[in-house]
Symmetry: C2
Subunit: 360 residues, 2 copies
């Protein structure tokens, strides 16, 4: 794999990940771009003990452009995009409308007393283009392309983890307008956060209590129990198993774990990386096969924080869809959004069975 770093017209980084060494990556970004927006602000919420990002400039981000204005397609005469080359395999670049950024300009006005707690939203937000083919999907990639995407995720995780203020790196894909996607071109994102995220904090708190009480690793023990019971397992091979958690929150939710506990994507072996693509592509085909319509989904890599509790964490991919039936979505309404109580309309065992039988 060949890695080429270039600068876009406004100074943002772009990295090509090429499957062959003969690609020409000399194309220059000729656009006339304004400077990137300043970093967002993060504010501390003393009620929920969490940081919230305020990124007002994101109101202006590109919203469902027509295909001939897609900013993620390769550049062509008359249409210059975020990617100067006329083709690419996988390309990663800094988001033009980032929620977190290391371009710290301007002052952040903090407050006094109980309202204190405001600082620059330091970090990075990157876009990962999976293919130059605008009309493709992640599920339609070849296993070797998924392998290239994994290399990009692992490489970016390692690079972003080395930034001084970054505490956690999150690789994910949002798919489908129903879930808020504003660009149709197949792509994912990477967020490098300046704090450990709320969900990760809670997961690691549970893992710490479990280690103290039971002596084992929470995630490893759950994976072993699910593999032993078996009725919620959807896919598995030599290195990975995907199962619907017994207390799944979403109508279709699958957690995919490598059989060997590793903290993050860079720690995966070549054999583990090779084995992921076929299993995940099989799962995505089953998901889209459920109702004969492309499923909106979120695919979220849970990685260990950069410098805390790496011995408790266990890399896994959380894949979930908000579609509960043809034409019906699961919404986060009062109980979920205001109280944090999820009501799942589908039994996890039924969801697992439907996924196992899908496309068979």
């Amino acid at each position: 794999m060949k890695r080429t770093l270039i600068s876009l017209a406004d100074g943002r980084d772009l990295i090509y990940y090429d499957e062959s060494d003969d690609s020409d990556r000399s194309a220059v970004d000729k656009r006339d771009l304004p400077p990137p927006p300043p970093a967002s602000e993060i504010r501390y919420d003393p009620v929920l003990d969490e940081w919230v990002a305020v990124a007002a400039h994101r109101q202006e981000r590109t919203f469902l452009p027509p295909q001939n204005e897609c900013p993620l397609c390769p550049s062509r005469p008359g249409h210059l995009t975020e990617i100067p080359a006329d083709s690419y395999h996988v390309a990663v670049f800094e988001n033009r409308f980032p929620s977190f950024s290391d371009r710290l300009t301007g002052e952040i006005a903090d407050a006094d007393g109980i309202l204190a707690g405001a600082r620059h939203g330091f970090g990075r937000c990157e876009v990962v283009c999976f293919t130059a083919d605008h009309d493709s999907t992640f599920g339609a990639l070849t296993p070797s392309r998924v392998r290239t995407v994994m290399e990009a995720w692992a490489d970016r995780t390692a690079d972003l983890s080395a930034l001084p203020g970054v505490e956690q790196v999150f690789c994910f894909e949002n798919r489908g307008e129903e879930i808020g996607v504003t660009l149709h071109h197949p792509h994912g994102q990477i967020y490098a956060y300046p704090f450990i995220t709320p969900r990760t904090r809670r997961m690691l708190g549970s893992a710490r209590r479990h280690a103290e009480d039971a002596g084992g690793n929470l995630f490893a023990d759950l994976l072993a129990a699910e593999r032993s019971v078996g009725d919620r397992v959807v896919v598995s091979n030599e290195h990975w198993t995907g199962y619907v958690p017994r207390a799944a929150r979403w109508p279709f939710e699958v957690h995919i774990f490598p059989h060997r506990r590793v903290p993050d994507l860079p720690a995966l072996t070549d054999a583990e990386r090779d084995a992921f693509g076929p299993l995940y592509l099989d799962l995505l085909r089953r998901l889209d096969g459920l109702f004969g319509t492309p499923m909106p989904y979120i695919a979220a890599w849970h990685q260990a924080p950069v410098r805390a509790d790496r011995d408790l964490a266990y890399l896994h991919l959380q894949l979930f869809s908000i579609r509960r039936a043809p034409g019906k979505l699961k919404y986060l309404a009062g109980s979920e959004s205001a109280m944090g109580v999820f009501v799942n309309d589908l039994r996890p065992e039924d969801a697992a069975r439907m996924l196992r039988e899908s496309g068979s």
Copy 2:
């Protein structure tokens, strides 16, 4: 106010709250209904240390019926609804498709070891009809009707709090198809949970730490600070203040507190109840006036748990909308749904100013 309890054809409770004593509430539910579904199941998630409800029967719930089949309209010849009377002021009844129920039938199969933790989803789910007028909205109610709704909320909170296994009562309104509402008739809901909800646990944990560290009540100190700073205050009167929190998660989010700390709705005085309606109606008008289109929103009453930490809690209404601009919604995508990190595209100070200037 006159309160009349009747039984629906399948044994569910219905309560009329009437603004005059002369209403005839003798109408009988003549429908031929199947028995209510069994209670859901709640399952413990050891990773996030939370209970999740699994209510498979809810897949079949009524979904966006045409107006002439609305189950919340008064009954009329040829169309028998959930409400036998031919008119009503406010009516509350047990949800036919409840997430939680006290009709415990069937066995719940628990598991062993790390997968253990499953029991009946004991509790109650009720529907609150705000008006017999199908085409109205909460914001179009009169202040005296809002007062009647408050009486119903307080009465139901007291009653449901007395059920032996209920730990928290949650009164709320989901408004708008964009937020998942499946019935257009103006209505809210009440959930009586068999546990303290995750968000409430976190809020009370913060309040406990604040009381130990600073000596005061977290919510009272925040309210005082926001009233003192003032630039995020949207509405206020003698008894109530509504402000946009400094670390708001949603584009438009207002927290409304009574000036006197009370644990829950039943603890409000008559004067406090009288003062709420005009202030809240003003706020809803401002919200709908922002973009000249009805705003989808969730309105959530945060009440103290039934028997824990009532000295730390502080009743308040959390009102928030997912609309961030005309034609654009805020979605909970990867960062919010998988990591719990909210990114707000609107500065809370700007949201407060927009609401203050709305309709002026």
